[in-house]
């Protein structure tokens, strides 16, 4: 074990000899509903990898209190300890936490490939449901037996989904569908867990960046909760589907609302190859670029015409259909770009278009609330932003398969984390995930795409007045 990992593990809050004190503001913990499902018995931090992730988190959080006095630091430690204990009981996070830990263990010499794989695995685990439980869930949600609702219903799941599983079925009208079913009660359990977890962290208000970091956590929590609401996903799917025309060659599955609720989502089943299968068939560069172009077009279309940011980049969420069209799946985790958010995107369009550093710095300062005297923070944030936007700046074909280029971004991101430069708009972690996710998929495809031209085509949908900076 490398020395720095051993150090990290040692930095983990020791199992206190005194009983950890439960803060007063935790009434909900005591009256939380009966533990749901088998999640609790899977300790989330039970493995070495998970411990590493927790140790990183702990050290990072504790770093905020370097300047605080001793008593406050001790108090904060007690709270982190409680938070970690709580995190440990959240078994559905197991996969995600382990994966982060595995990656951090290689930190900072992390390879792009490992980064890509980490992003892929960041999901909630749910235990498999046996057929009888599944049947009851469908009965409770849709009011009838699966066999009465559907012409055929495969009792075996064909895929695991975040917090549930997906079954193939056929509607009475003949359409092949995919039915996503959520483990009963888990959405509410997660919601309660996160509310309690954040209460543990609330008393830690000593750092300058804390309020802002808490906002980011809150934002993340809202998004996690969103992800468990299949009705919201159905709305996103419908909205997204309407954005694409036949000539785009991009298809979003149709939702069957009469067979969908907040816990059951019935969609058109698209048959095709997931990106990993597609790559395994050793496609030509032209084929790869074609797929990459469609993925990017979908991303920009959703962003500029749909005003929503696709976050969940996962090779399993993109299907190459036999006729060459691209299927985009899983709209559970989307960022709606509304109001102030949309206004900021409007402002970002200027530096994205001009490629000028002064334009970029103005936006970075506003986005991250950076003061004039914080030169180091500004420099690092600007470098990272430049990396994020590089593909678009350069014009012409951008080579997403360039490992050195990708590593540069990872290293900059790692540096930001090391320095705890967490201050930014609340949705920044989610946007970073979207950015890195997109880059990961492009890297996987070793794609070369003219991002500039594509983005220019799509930005037009906004109807923004860009006359004072856009290239004619």
């Amino acid at each position: 074990m490398p020395a720095n990992i051993a150090e990290l593990i040692a930095a983990l809050p020791a199992e206190a000899d005194e009983q950890a004190t439960v803060p007063d503001e935790l009434p909900t913990l005591c009256v939380s509903p009966i533990p749901v499902g088998r999640f609790r018995r899977l300790s989330a931090l039970g493995t070495l990898q998970a411990k590493i992730a927790a140790a990183y988190l702990f050290r990072w959080l504790r770093g905020w209190f370097q300047s605080a006095d001793e008593s406050k630091r001790t108090l904060a430690d007690a709270h982190w300890r409680n938070a970690l204990r709580m995190l440990d009981s959240m078994g559905y996070l197991r996969g995600a936490v382990m994966k982060i830990g595995q990656t951090l263990a290689n930190f900072p010499d992390i390879a792009p490939r490992e980064f890509v794989e980490t992003l892929e695995k960041l999901h909630f685990d749910a235990p498999a449901m046996h057929w009888s439980l599944l049947r009851e869930t469908v009965f409770a949600e849709l009011g009838d037996e699966p066999r009465n609702l559907f012409a055929a219903f495969n009792e075996r799941a064909f895929a695991a989904a975040s917090l549930g599983q997906v079954h193939g079925a056929q509607l009475r009208t003949g359409e092949e569908v995919a039915v996503k079913i959520q483990y009963p009660g888990i959405a509410r359990a997660i919601d309660a867990d996160f509310r309690n977890l954040f209460l543990f962290m609330l008393p830690a208000r000593l750092s300058a960046d804390w309020e802002n970091t808490k906002d980011q956590f809150d934002d993340l929590q809202r998004r996690l909760t969103q992800e468990t609401d299949y009705e919201l996903e159905a709305t996103n799917l419908r909205k997204a589907r309407a954005l694409f025309r036949e000539e785009d060659g991009i298809v979003v599955p149709q939702v069957y609302p009469q067979y969908s609720t907040s816990r059951v989502l019935t969609m058109e089943r698209l048959e095709g190859h997931h990106l990993r299968d597609f790559m395994a068939r050793k496609p030509s560069p032209e084929e790869r670029n074609e797929v990459a172009l469609k993925i990017l077009r979908a991303w920009y279309r959703l962003m500029y015409a749909g005003r929503m940011l696709y976050v969940d980049f996962h090779p399993g969420n993109f299907l190459v259909l036999p006729d060459g069209r691209l299927g985009v799946l899983d709209f559970g985790f989307m960022i709606a770009l509304e109001g102030a958010e949309w206004e900021l995107f409007r402002k970002i369009d200027r530096p994205l278009t001009t490629g000028r550093q002064e334009d970029r710095i103005a936006v970075v300062k506003e986005w991250c609330d950076i003061r004039d005297d914080e030169t180091d923070r500004l420099r690092l944030m600007d470098d990272f932003t430049a990396w994020e936007w590089m593909a678009r700046y350069r014009g012409g074909e951008f080579d997403f398969g360039d490992e050195a280029e990708f590593r540069l971004g990872i290293n900059l991101f790692a540096e930001l984390i090391r320095r705890r430069y967490s201050r930014a708009r609340p949705n920044t972690p989610a946007i970073a995930r979207s950015q890195f996710g997109m880059r990961s998929i492009m890297y996987l495809l070793k794609a070369k795409v003219d991002v500039w031209s594509l983005a220019e085509e799509e930005v037009k949908a906004t109807g923004w007045d860009r006359s004072d900076y856009a290239v004619k």
């Binding site: 439980l133 009851e136 009963p184």
Partner: protein, 209 residues
Amino acid sequence: MRITADEKRATRRRIVEAAVDLFRSQGFETTTTRDIARAAGIAVGTLFNYFETKEALVASLAAEALSRAHAAWKRERERTSLNQRPGLDEDLFSLVAAELRQLRPLRKFLSPFIETILSPLVAARKSAADELRVAHLERVTELVGRHGVADVTPVALQMYWALYTGALAFWAVDRSPRQEDTLALLDESLQMFSAWLQGQTDGSKTERS
């Protein structure tokens, strides 16, 4: 005056319907046998010819529901092909789930019934509820036997009964949407029970050999 069997059945049905209406509208606790008799249009004395207590009335309703449930459960099992035989936990889950489906219309006034009659705290006595208990446990014994646990000890059965009535009690007051927490509770607890029971049997086999 002689009363025909048909008339008896009709009166019984009137009583049951009146009782269910009253339980629903004013609750089990506040409904008296006098209220039920009045609503059914019969004398209180006549009511007692049919049901000794209102608990007996609910027990009879529950018995009917459970008998429908068991018939449905049996039909469902026959549909399942042999190569898809579920594990013991799933088998037990499907049995209890089938019961809950049929008990659902009674859910609102079932908790006092579970408390006063089905609770493991109530000493077994000859009653309609006692028959329910025996019928359910016989089914469980048979199911468990099919999964290779030949003799279920009285202790195991008592543990199962405590778990079963506990889950019923949880369900009766479950406020989660469509009682989804009960499904999760049943899934988890029956899995634990099955694993314990089957481990128990394996263990005793090893010890003896």
